[in-house]
């Protein structure tokens, strides 16, 4: 497995392409959004691929119509557009209609967080977790590398229901040497430690591992957890994984305190009565027009490695020797 691997979308679309040979019911819709692997789907399955044009409302409505007729539907677009441009279509014709009409729909949103680095706030996406969490019947799948993206495809392709796969736009280093770690629990403990545990999803898992590496070189061990199913995870197991820590740090590449990962963690902590503090690392709600590398954007937003280290170092120091 190469360190930098594939983009999540390419690994996932490769799996879709493979499955389309076996499963005649798969239909693939794109809102004029492509990828090299998508070219194979267009070439090999022209009768089950449609570009609906730059028309996300219709993308979702057509997907719903195909799905209630028994197709397994994949709908593909840039993340902010497939969640926000057509939010009421998602609500009415998927979330609501699926209460009475079963459907297998797989939304693929590419470009979460700052991953369209220089495209600015229209193409970046800091709100999708919170708004998609608000829609009943949707699962939110948020892999941290291409191996997890493929594993999540395998787990969910045949399950009837609504799924939103949120992918980083950039190829990220592989962290899942073993795809079985992408388990049905919806989360994976990557590091165990003391006092502080970082919990992250997608790109922020990589930042969290870097934070952990840096501290480890100073003989300080912290926990790192990847949560890749942001709706249907084993909450009791997650609570058990967190209970020994003093502080859990939610690390998200989205708005802080707006119903995203930090709200999810708060809910677990409160539901299981865990006696620990929650530290929320996320983007201060507001839009920025800064141009820079992702590293620079993260530093400015206060979600980069050094910001997290700055926040948690005192917490580790405080307990030392006591």
């Amino acid at each position: 497995m190469s360190l930098h691997g594939l983009a999540m979308r390419d690994a996932y679309l490769e799996s879709v392409w493979r499955e389309m040979s076996n499963n005649r019911l798969i239909f693939f819709l794109s809102a004029d959004f492509g990828s090299p692997v998508l070219d194979k789907i267009r070439r090999d399955f022209p009768d089950r691929f449609l570009n609906v044009g730059i028309a996300e409302q219709n993308l979702i409505n057509v997907a719903a119509g195909l799905a209630i007729e028994g197709h397994t539907v994949f709908a593909y677009a840039i993340a902010p557009f497939i969640t926000m441009r057509c939010y009421e279509q998602l609500r009415v014709n998927m979330s609501l209609l699926s209460e009475v009409r079963p459907m297998n729909v797989n939304l693929i949103g590419v470009g979460v967080g700052y991953s369209y680095v220089v495209s600015g706030p229209t193409h970046q996406c800091y709100e999708d977790v919170s708004i998609m969490r608000a829609l009943p019947n949707f699962q939110i799948l948020s892999p941290a590398d291409h191996i997890a993206a493929s594993a999540l495809f395998d787990q969910h392709v045949n399950s009837v229901g609504l799924k939103y796969f949120r992918f980083d736009a950039q190829p990220l280093p592989a962290v899942y040497a073993d795809p079985s770690l992408v388990s049905a629990d919806g989360f994976c403990v990557h590091r165990r430690g003391e006092k502080v545990c970082l919990i992250a999803s997608g790109f922020m898992l990589h930042t969290s591992l870097e934070v952990s590496n840096e501290l480890e070189s100073n003989s300080q061990k912290i926990g790192v957890i990847d949560i890749f199913n942001l709706t249907n995870f084993a909450s009791e197991s997650l609570a058990k994984a967190l209970e020994s820590y003093d502080v859990v740090v939610s690390c998200e590449e989205g708005f802080r305190d707006r119903g995203g990962l930090d709200a999810l963690i708060s809910s677990v902590v409160s539901e299981y009565g865990l006696s620990l503090k929650i530290l929320k690392i996320g983007v201060n709600p507001g839009y920025s027009f800064d141009i820079g590398s992702r590293f620079e954007l993260h530093q400015k937003a206060g979600i980069g490695k050094s910001s997290i280290l700055e926040e948690i170092t005192p917490l580790l120091e405080k307990g030392r020797g006591s």
Partner: protein, 276 residues
């Protein structure tokens, strides 16, 4: 139901009058329902369901061989309650419980009602979903067709025009759009709000096969729907039914605020007494 079954013109006219009357009765019991927009669509639904246009099985509403009837203008389809019940989709006693606690018949119909395929109420959704259904039916070479009833007011929603482009580009000639063109939305004449008096020309310019009919001539509506159901020329089909919002109710007919006006109980009683 066998779609080829012939019915007499008088049968359809009598059913239309009966459905109109039943709609008034429901509104009398449940003033939360939208009367005016339900009266403009009576003959459209009678033609579809009694005129042999739609294939359906009331005891198995999701029978695969059915034609799909998508009702996008949900508020304005209360006349469907008596029709569906008369055809055996659900018992007629339910009509007395519209909007009452525990009933499945609300002020705006939901897809829990046998015979309703999708969610409506929020406007501008039916045509896009219908396009997806039509695509699926074509994909499996089904002879079933899709009929979708929209109001002219909801054509202000841009999502419709995305679907209108999509359907013609993808040659969905198994898709039949029926526009209940009553010319009024909630607060005003649609032409005063955002003019589209030339719906036919607009749809034609998007590649649709269109025809205008008198939406209250149930025989004409039936004949046109049946004829066009049999013709497949690669174009999606639209019937623009010219109708009168609040038809038959003095004070509602052509009143720009008829959507939100409730006629008095006395007036409803008089109308019901006079309807034979």
């Amino acid at each position: 139901m066998d779609g080829s079954k012939q019915v007499s013109d008088n049968f359809l006219k009598n059913k239309s009058l009966w459905a109109w009357k039943e709609t008034l009765l429901i509104h009398r019991r449940a003033p939360e329902t939208r009367l005016a927009s339900s009266l403009s669509s009576v003959e459209i639904f009678v033609a579809l369901y009694y005129g042999g246009v739609l294939q359906f099985d009331a005891l198995n509403p999701l029978w695969d061989g059915r034609d799909r009837c998508i009702i996008s203008k949900g508020h304005g389809s209360i006349c469907m309650y008596p029709i569906l019940s008369d055809l055996g989709f659900f018992p007629s006693e339910e009509l007395k419980r519209v909007c009452k606690s525990g009933s499945f018949l609300g002020g705006i119909p939901d897809p829990v009602i046998p015979g309703y395929e999708t969610v409506n109420g929020s406007l501008g959704h039916g045509l896009g979903v219908s396009s997806g259904i039509a695509l699926a039916l074509k994909q499996r070479k089904s002879s079933s067709q899709v009929f979708v009833v929209v109001g002219d007011g909801e054509l202000h929603e841009g999502s419709n025009w995305e679907a209108i482009m999509f359907a013609s580009h993808n040659k969905l000639d198994n898709l039949n759009l029926v526009v209940d063109d009553n010319g009024i939305s909630m607060l005003d004449y649609t032409d005063q709000i955002l003019s589209h008096s030339n719906i036919k020309e607009r749809l034609e310019s998007f590649g649709w096969d269109c025809i205008e009919v008198d939406g209250h001539d149930v025989v004409q509506v039936k004949d046109v729907l049946l004829k066009r159901k049999r013709s497949n020329n690669g174009k999606p089909k639209a019937i623009i039914a010219k109708t009168i919002k609040g038809r038959g109710v003095p004070g509602l007919e052509n009143n720009s605020l008829s959507h939100i006006i409730n006629p008095s109980q006395d007036l409803l009683d008089d109308l019901l007494e006079g309807a034979t």
